[in-house]
Amino acid sequence: MMRAMKNGPLAALALLVGAAVAPAAYAAGGEHAHIERQEWSFGGFTGQYDKAQLQRGFQIYKDVCSACHGLKRVRFRNLFEAGGPEFPEDAVKALANEWPNKITDGPDSEGKMFEREPKAFDPILGPFKNDNEARAAQNGALPPDLSLIARARNVEYTGTWWAHPFSMLRDIATGYQEGGADYLYALLTGYHEAPADVKLGEGMSYNVAFPGHQIGMPAPLAKDNFVTYQDGTGSLDQNSRDVAAFLSWAADPSLNARKSLGWLVMLYLVVTTGLLYVGKRRIWSSIPH
């Protein structure tokens, strides 16, 4: 097919150059913590969110994270729409009505702003009105909004430099997009006693997954302090996994639609390419080329 490629003495040169660069570049790497990859129901070719897991994850968000973090790009209605946790609509409306962080609306007929209960179409707000209020309440540390956190964080490659291109190709071929979830899980389970040689700043905690290892957020979950689900189960590991899955959905709510349409499109493209190729061979059959 690509006759030109066969001529290229590419491999030999690549090896040569590779061998020469190896020791030099390797020394420059290794500043990021290694993050283990986890199994996610929404990973891979046919992955979809696990509704029950998203529901449990939302409970963690509500019971733990929402004390400091907002989720402003997620609307209450998203919680009952298809492709998400799919809570019953009435339950979500009741939840919105009782949400502690009210919506500022107005001005009313007297020109004053007022607070009201959130409706289904309103965003899920955190406790702080703005970043400055959040910083003031949290010793200067800003608890980020979590709507996009699973997309805004990723896992940095930490292997040897020459394996990097292969790792990239493997990630593309396997459709790996769960770096954010892997990182969040690693972060939530990554709180440890600081090693003796590390001096923590005031109010800081030690976390193996966090870049630089000093994090302003105190451990939100712990081995002996976790959320128990309605069925009585629960653990630090399970809580972390569930909330990471929930936040993945919050950041990428169209994943179910994307992947369920995706395999149809891929199938269509492969079949059509095959048919066009056979057709092209028929058309060209009498012409040497």
Partner: protein
């Protein structure tokens, strides 16, 4: 050009199948480009609005917003109600009540355009059914038209005190949006 090469069999089934697949794929691909112009999930969700009626005195009117449209709310006087009720739907240009909460065939009686026991409150979508202008008649000094309701200045449509078309080019009565009284003087539209 092709004289010396053999004419390919263009009726070859596989060639046709390949072309058909490509054509169908291209046609289906059009759908997302068309669908994206429909109201998005955010617009669909902004469905309801609550309005406090207590400041509206008898004979007064206010205009609210719902789904980006003006909502006419008029606290009608007993005379206005009486003239509205006296009208026979058969004599009107549009026989339908045009009430979103009632079937299309409901006759255009004044009773079918208001809530029972709350006959003084007339709630309408304030858009002329002709070409979408906003009729006059809400503000104090406005012309209310020949029938005491609303008057559309764009092309001269006259509406009565029940918001029904009486004269002019508009084909339909002003539409009644879906609403309910959540308390004695508070309504929820949508």
């Amino acid at each position: 050009m092709a004289s010396e090469v053999e004419e390919p069999n263009r009726r070859d089934f596989l060639v046709i199948a390949g072309n058909a697949f490509a054509a169908v794929g291209a046609a289906i691909t059009l759908w997302p480009f068309i669908s994206q112009m429909n109201p998005d999930a955010g617009a669909q969700a902004l469905a309801s609005v609550e309005i406090d009626l207590s400041p509206v005195k008898e004979g007064q009117a206010i205009t609210a917003m719902w789904r980006g449209k003006p909502i006419f709310i008029r606290n009608r006087t007993p005379e206005e109600i009486k003239t509205a009720e006296a009208m026979n739907p058969a004599d009107l240009p549009d026989h339908s009540a045009r009430n979103d909460m009632l079937p299309e065939t409901t006759p255009a009686l004044d009773a079918n355009r208001v809530k029972k026991g709350k006959e003084n409150w007339l709630i309408l979508i304030g858009i002329c059914t002709h070409l979408g202008c906003i009729p006059k008649g809400q503000a104090m000094g406005d012309s209310k038209g020949d029938f005491g309701g609303w008057f559309c200045p764009c092309h001269g449509s006259h509406y009565d005190t029940s918001g029904r078309i009486r004269k002019g080019p508009a084909p339909r009565n002003l539409e009644v949006p879906p609403y309910e009284f959540v308390s004695d003087n508070k309504i929820k539209i949508g």
